[in-house]
């Protein structure tokens, strides 16, 4: 399988503080890759770097094309949807408007209409609340909305930043099942950043362990799950 996203020697910094010190990783076409690590390891920064939200050095290629240095909105237009840290909801707009914005770059009206039904089928709760101001949704519903908004782009690659954060275990379970469905049924590749390692390793095929901006362990998800010393020292379960 060819890599959809390939990153080599990625460095990033906020002002004088360097956060990523030369990371290499890849997301296979149709695959799910997860990046694990503690708070402050650089997980969120990695996702931000991929879609041009922070200044970076190193190579980032998407579908064979270099995207490092491109503006965020240009990278998005290539088919990279980012569900950001904090969910990035348009709080003062209603649910439907949030979803319409997700499809902002698309001109195929009929298919956009079909995609509304598609995401409402994944998350029936959103359909019930389609006229409600997004800021009044519960945390779980806002996460569903963020994922749905990303799907409205018809992305080739979905970047998920700690989707389980702050949600009830049952909601998290439901959400992860939907991620699998999105991946399997629609062929959307996923780059998942998580603190909940056991959950992420069950979903992903490949995993990278991040410590203070460096990849310390990488391999198939299965290998890492099976490696007790790695689990103990890095994943804490």
């Amino acid at each position: 399988m060819a890599a959809l996203l390939e990153v080599k020697g990625l460095q990033a910094q906020y002002g004088p503080t360097q956060v990523l010190h030369g990371m290499d990783f890849a997301v296979e076409q149709g695959g799910i890759t997860t990046i694990l690590g503690a708070n402050g390891a650089g997980k969120t920064t990695t996702l931000r770097a991929v879609c041009g939200m922070v200044r970076t050095r190193g190579e980032i290629s998407f579908a064979g094309q270099r995207i490092d240095g491109l503006a965020t909105e240009s990278i998005v237009r290539l088919g990279v949807a980012h569900v950001p840290d904090g969910r990035g909801t348009f709080l003062h707009l209603n649910v439907e408007e949030n979803l319409r914005l997700g499809a902002y770059t698309r001109r195929d009206k009929a298919e956009v209409a079909a995609d509304f039904e598609r995401v409402y089928a994944y998350f029936p709760r959103l359909k019930e609340r389609c006229r409600q101001q997004a800021g009044t949704l519960s945390g779980g519903e806002q996460q569903m909305l963020a994922v749905s908004r990303a799907l409205m782009l018809r992305p080739r690659l979905l970047l998920l930043d700690e989707p389980s954060f702050g949600l009830a275990p049952l909601v998290v379970q439901e959400l992860f099942e939907i991620f699998r469905a999105i991946n399997v049924q629609e062929g959307v590749s996923i780059l998942l950043v998580e603190q909940n390692a056991s959950l992420a390793l069950k979903l992903a095929q490949r995993a990278y362990l991040l410590e203070t901006g460096r990849v310390v362990v990488s391999g198939s998800a299965e290998e890492i799950r099976g490696n007790e010393s790695v689990r103990r020292s890095y994943l804490g379960y």
Binding site: H82, G88, T89, H92, L93, T105, L153
Partner: protein, 289 residues
Amino acid sequence: MDLLIHQVFSGLATGGIYASVALALVMIYQATHLVNFAQGELAMFSTYIAWSLIQAGVPYWAAFVLTASLAFLLGVVIERVIVRPVENAPILSVVIVFIGLLVIFNSLAGWIFSYTIKPFPSPFPEQPLFGNRYVSSHELGSIAITLVVLALLFVFFRFTPLGLAMRAAAQNPVSSRLVGIRVGWMLALGWGLAGAIGAIAGMMVAPTVFLEPNMMSGILLYAFAAALLGGIDSPGGAVLGGFIVGVLENLVGSFLGTELKLTVALVLIVGVLVVRPSGLFGKVHVNRV
């Protein structure tokens, strides 16, 4: 009684002008959280463009549309060339840039067109419409045009994808980029719209106050009061505020004395800020914490 009705109508007419300028202020405030002090001078300068076109023999309504379009372009260019570079500068620096623009356009108008007061034509007939005694055709016409502009803006922001994108970019620029909206252009578009709205206000007010480089300075103050009264982030509120300020100013002027006219604006500004800073229709947003 006649005097009262007459003053109310002419208050509504000037109020329409305040409403338009207030709307232009709101347009830029929503996107940048800054009040564009140069808004009035831009409107004045655009009105000079309309005057030149009409002098050159262009029919009134053609000149009207052309001027609004040119003012739109002017707004976009100003945002791209002058405001853009100070995007991340402290608020005070941006305000100084706005004041600089105010002075530049004021002097530019005086330099190019001279400070002599010029008459500006009204597109509406001399005789009052429908044989009424209270309101001139020009007053009625400018009220109507304000309302049409408001309706068009409402439709644009509510029902078009571009309008939605502009609202989104104003609220949450980071997320807007993540759905592919070119946020920088949305700001420029906001400036363009504000420029066009201001130009229309200028063309509507010029027949009454006559065209000269300082014609908008008082109006900007009233418009600011109107925007604050209605809620500076609410386009509909700004328009209503404009009409209220216009009527109030006129009634105070005719029943309490002309000297107090400008005081109305200042009392309103201070009053609103003290009693209800979000204005009558300023949204109180509901957020989860």
